[in-house]
């Protein structure tokens, strides 16, 4: 299995897009070597702007740039680019539906060593709460590349969440990425598993193991958290015995919230897997944290079996 890094893919994709579109400008808050915008800076020094450790200004500044026709990509760790700048995103960008792309790097628990201060467990929730906002969490590098291209063509504010660590490539290369459209990664008839980001891979592993035990699980990659395609979610939940959601995010306001809301009243049992109502913490590696919070294939399997009782 090919392992690839979403951040690196994002950096490379920006260069590719930058060659085709000179309206793209990239803003950085002193984390360019981590967010990988240094790659764009090397190629297009005139269209890369270091804004210093001043994220609030960076977001409103991007709003000003967008009003002159530029397509600004704003970069920082997700916890800062969505949280520290929430009011700037709300007032300067979302309210006016401006064409600013907010990039959330090292999202979720993926900045494992730095601990709770640097781990975004609520970014999807706060970005989803904003009218006019589009929220995307790609599952791997292949999807990241397609998503970055799609949001560049889309005129409006977007938040994108990227993982710090290498992830296995699982997204179908020939699949066209369409903002808002969930993708069936594996067909199945007994259970539907809705997953986002790094959890899509865990869901696929779980589906394989469940299959060996005679349980056919459908795996759906819900990479667009907003706009949320409720009709598609309902359709993909028809005829199954149970539904499981799994996300590397707090239980409030993320994928689980969106799916259970979309499926209100259907009567099919639903289980959710998330970080819960908690902050993250430091660990020696990413895997250790995912296991600590139960964000694994094994836990998905447990939840699925629980639905059969």
């Amino acid at each position: 299995m090919v392992m690839q890094n979403q951040r690196k893919t994002y950096g490379d994709t920006l260069i590719e897009l930058g060659k085709q579109n000179d309206r793209i400008v990239v803003l950085e808050a002193d984390l360019g070597k981590s967010t990988m915008t240094f790659l764009f800076e090397q190629e297009f020094p005139d269209r890369h702007f270091e804004m210093g450790i001043a994220e609030a200004n960076m977001v409103s500044f991007a709003a000003g740039l967008s009003l002159t026709g530029k397509i600004p990509f704003v970069n920082s760790f997700a916890v800062f680019s969505s949280g520290r700048t929430f009011d700037q995103i709300r007032q300067s960008v979302a309210l006016g539906k401006l064409n600013v792309k907010i990039m959330g790097s090292s999202a979720g628990l993926s900045d494992f060593g730095d601990g709770a201060t640097h781990q975004s467990v609520e970014d999807i929730a706060i970005m989803r709460a904003l009218p006019n906002m589009t929220v995307i969490a790609p599952c791997d590098s292949i999807e990241t590349k397609k998503a970055i291209k799609a949001i560049t063509e889309y005129d409006g504010p977007v938040y994108v969440r990227l993982c710090r660590n290498d992830l296995p490539n699982i997204y179908p290369e020939d699949n066209e990425f369409v903002i808002g459209k969930p993708v069936v990664m594996r067909e199945g008839k007994d259970i539907t598993i809705f997953a986002m980001g790094a959890m899509v891979y865990e869901a696929l592993v779980a589906a394989d193991k469940l299959n060996e035990e005679g349980i056919s699980a459908k795996v759906v990659n819900v990479s667009t958290l907003k706009p949320f395609d409720e009709e598609a979610i309902k359709k993909l939940s028809e005829g199954v015995k149970g539904i499981v959601t799994v996300e590397e995010h707090a239980e409030i306001g993320g994928l689980g919230s969106a799916v259970t809301y979309a499926l209100r009243g259907i009567g099919t049992p639903i289980e959710t897997i998330s970080i819960g109502d908690k902050f993250g913490q430091s660990a020696e590696n990413y895997r250790e944290l995912l296991e600590h919070y139960g964000l694994t294939a094994d836990n998905i399997i447990r939840k699925v079996k629980g639905l059969y009782k």
Binding site: A56, L67, T68
Partner: protein
Amino acid sequence: MDQKEILSLKKTAANIRKGIIAATSAAGSGHPGGSLSITDVMTYLYFKEMNIDVKQPKKPDRDRFVMSKGHCAPVLYSTLAERGFFPKEDLLTLRKVDSYLEGHPNMHTVPGVDMSTGSLAQGISAAVGMALAGKLDKKDYRVFVGMGDGELEEGQVWEASMAAAHYKLDNMVCFVDYNGLQIDGKITEVMNPEPIADKFVAFGWYVQSIDAHDFEQIHQAVENAKQQKGKPNMIVCHSIKGKGVSFMEGQAGWHGVAPKPEERDRAIAELDEYIASLNA
């Protein structure tokens, strides 16, 4: 500027002040105090200085104005209406349901508004972005910004100030309406942002201090700003909150309170009297 031109600007400013009073009074809420203190600066910019076209409010090469202290929407609206961007009678719809004149300015609905503002300090950051884009695209347009002195208490102002100086945005001219009062009282007592001019000098700006109600001084400062290269421009405008209406002048209480009908009538009568004296 000759005396005739100054006289004409004074009359225009008085008419804009009348619009502020009428609009806030009709709304029953709003911010007349800080609107009246920056009225002369706004009058100078929109009637003497800025390259704008009322028929093409969004023309790409226009000069931009960002009201970073968005609560002073009444002066922005009254100035734009006086300049012909939309009918003056619409000012009376301020803050009404379904009116395009919201409590804080919306660039998508109000002709002539270049940036939606309301959350303090974000306007100056957006203006820095516009100014940088102008440099990037090798355009000659300039970006003007209206700020409050209380607004300087927001940390983002200083992030934006650093960025404007860092990128040498001499195409940017910022006005701080230094009336010394904010909602809770004197700025020096609420959270002292002084010394204001010194702070911007330290941040790398070209700073001038003027009497905000003297058109000749506004004119000289803006002309000086045009000559500066390599630094953003700050014009610290010593002003009187509530300027032009005797019972509102120097009163923090008029920051965010609308005149009642009898107060409106007194204020309008004073301004009419002033205009008559200018005509005579």
